[in-house]
């Protein structure tokens, strides 16, 4: 508990708790607004000759806009920003000796790791939720209303993917000494996961990023599929596995 409290205070002092939500709110805003003004933007830019803007072109529906907020804003820029913001969550304390110092106290390694992951996850969930809520509002205002229940389900699935993202960054932060390496590996691995999602059902079953895809599917079609449950279970198992690995790594004092 003391560790979690310290973690939260530290994030407040670093203003992470302020700028991270703002970034995600802006990200959430971007998609509906860009999509709404797309015809106008294309027109004013002059475009390539020969392209005709059809004014009767079907306006996208609110659900499509919301799904693309998740898939193209949060899953790309969002992940990169999260990784950069969280890359030194453990590495920083490893480098200045605070982690070793804290562990000279009777503190189980697991509670140290949990305080890190839980607090950073909660903050990330709050940021994503805020951004998502803003995107939801604007989609409803500029396009059509998405059923609230479906939107909530989609968010829930997205948060499972988010848990994987945070745990993965934490693991990299435990393994490596240089923030640049942590950021690079995390971003590459996570984005690759995201890009190969939906390619093949077998890969999807073990790919945590398919939770993000499930979220988008729920928004588009409005119904849950059996496979979605499996993704959640597999992702949670992966998260457990990563925490065990980190625990082993720290217990053997390889940091």
């Amino acid at each position: 508990m003391a560790l979690s409290k310290k973690e939260l205070t530290q994030m407040t002092k670093e203003f992470k708790i302020v700028w991270l939500p703002i970034v995600f709110i802006l990200l959430g805003l971007t998609q509906p607004i860009v999509m709404y003004y797309m015809p106008v933007i294309l027109q004013s830019m002059g475009g390539v000759e020969g392209i005709m803007i059809d004014p009767t072109m079907a306006k996208p529906e609110g659900r499509e806009v919301l799904a693309s907020t998740l898939n193209s804003q949060f899953d790309q820029l969002g992940i990169i920003i999260l990784v950069v913001a969280l890359m030194s969550m453990i590495q920083g304390e490893k480098a200045n000796g605070m982690m070793a110092f804290i562990l000279t106290r009777p503190v189980p390694i697991l509670s140290y790791l949990n305080s890190k992951i839980v607090i950073h996850y909660l903050v990330a969930v709050i940021c994503i939720t805020l951004g998502y809520a803003v995107s939801y509002g604007y989609s409803a205002y500029l396009f059509t209303v998405v059923p609230f229940k479906e939107a909530l389900w989609a968010l829930a699935f997205y948060c499972v993917w988010l848990l994987f993202v945070i745990t993965f960054v934490a693991m990299m932060s435990t393994f490596f000494k240089s923030p640049a390496v942590i950021a690079l590996i995390s971003i590459v691995v996570l984005l690759v996961c995201r890009f190969i999602a939906g390619l093949h059902p077998f890969i999807d079953a073990v790919n945590p990023a398919s939770n993000s895809l499930s979220a988008a599917n729920i928004l588009m079609t409005g119904n849950l599929e059996v496979g979605d449950g499996i993704h959640i279970i597999v992702t949670l198992l992966l998260v457990l596995l990563m925490i065990t690995t980190m625990h082993g790594f720290i217990a053997k004092k390889k940091f």
Binding site: K6, T9, Q10, K13, G97, M98, P106
Partner: protein, 300 residues
């Protein structure tokens, strides 16, 4: 609290930092771990504090593995690092909570402790603004907070100026009364002042383990120190050829005469001097070397 260090070996890649190191520290002893830079002191200390992992050997505190006894240990790192955004009070309260102390205890203990280490006025200042000496004292405070029976200190005074050093040494002397202490240092005079027992480590090997008086006795020279008048100096060239005089060397403001059998030869030498009309300004038998010199002899 009896600390039992058994056959510790620690390798870093190719380099062996600590080599089959064993020793026992009895309750209420104060042991100084001495060695030049890079001898493996910090590594050993960190293994004892359960920060580093030793390939071989184990460390027992009262027969229990050290990892299970963390509440009994107070650890002061070489460069105590704290969260700079915390105040001194918050730091202690954070570290104390990790050791499982209750809020009430902390509220009572912390101001007393800060007073004791001389940070009473700075209790609510951010640690980021602290000087090295203040951080060191805060480090001692956090190590004392949970009333450990055993204190491990890594170079507690090496980084401090003379005033800070004096303060910290006095503080450690105070703590010594009720706690077993193991401290490492490369400054011998500091260790000499605090500890009774010294363990000298070099290249990861334990090369000496003795009390101060044992050390001095063991390294006593069979030499005689004399000081004579200027006009008697030629007498030295005569005695140089005496069979029982090994060697004469200039030492301080006089001369050191090395002999084979201290007492008998001193007698003869004194007699010889008197016969030669030499006036002795000073005649001293069995020169004791300072610990500093013994230390140099050991490690160089």
């Amino acid at each position: 609290m009896r600390l039992d260090i058994k056959n510790i070996t620690k390798n870093f890649k190719q380099k062996t930092a600590v080599h089959d190191f064993s020793m026992i520290i009895e309750a209420n002893e104060c042991v100084g771990l001495i060695g030049p830079n890079g001898a493996g002191k910090s590594t050993l200390i960190q293994i004892i504090a359960d920060i580093l992992y030793a390939e071989e050997g184990e460390i027992l505190l009262d027969g229990q593995k050290i990892a299970l006894m963390k509440n009994k240990i107070g650890y002061l790192p070489q460069y105590p690092n704290f969260f700079s955004w915390m105040t001194a009070f918050e730091t202690l309260s954070f570290m104390g909570t990790l050791s499982g102390l209750s809020k009430n205890e902390l509220q009572q203990e912390i101001p007393l402790l800060l007073e004791k280490v001389g940070l009473g006025k700075e209790a609510h200042m951010h640690v980021g603004t602290f000087s090295g000496g203040m951080k060191q004292r805060l480090g001692i405070a956090q190590a004392l907070l949970h009333k450990p029976a055993f204190m491990i200190m890594d170079e507690p005074v090496s980084a401090l100026d003379p005033i800070g050093r004096r303060e910290v040494i006095n503080l450690i002397k105070e703590i010594k009364k009720e706690t077993t202490i193991l401290l490492s240092t490369h400054i011998l005079s500091d260790a000499e002042e605090i500890c009774e027992r010294f363990v000298v480590i070099k290249h990861g090997y334990k090369i000496e383990d003795a009390t101060k008086s044992e050390l001095l006795e063991r390294y006593q020279d069979s030499a005689i120190f004399i000081r004579i008048r200027q006009e008697d100096l030629k007498w030295l060239t005569i005695i140089e050829h005496l069979p029982y005089v090994k060697k004469i060397e200039s030492y301080g403001d006089g001369f050191k005469i090395h002999v084979y059998h201290l007492e008998a030869d001193a007698q003869r030498l004194l007699q010889h001097g008197l016969d030669s009309q030499v006036l002795f300004l000073k005649f001293e038998m069995g020169i004791q070397e300072s610990l500093e010199e013994i230390f140099l002899q050991l490690v160089v």
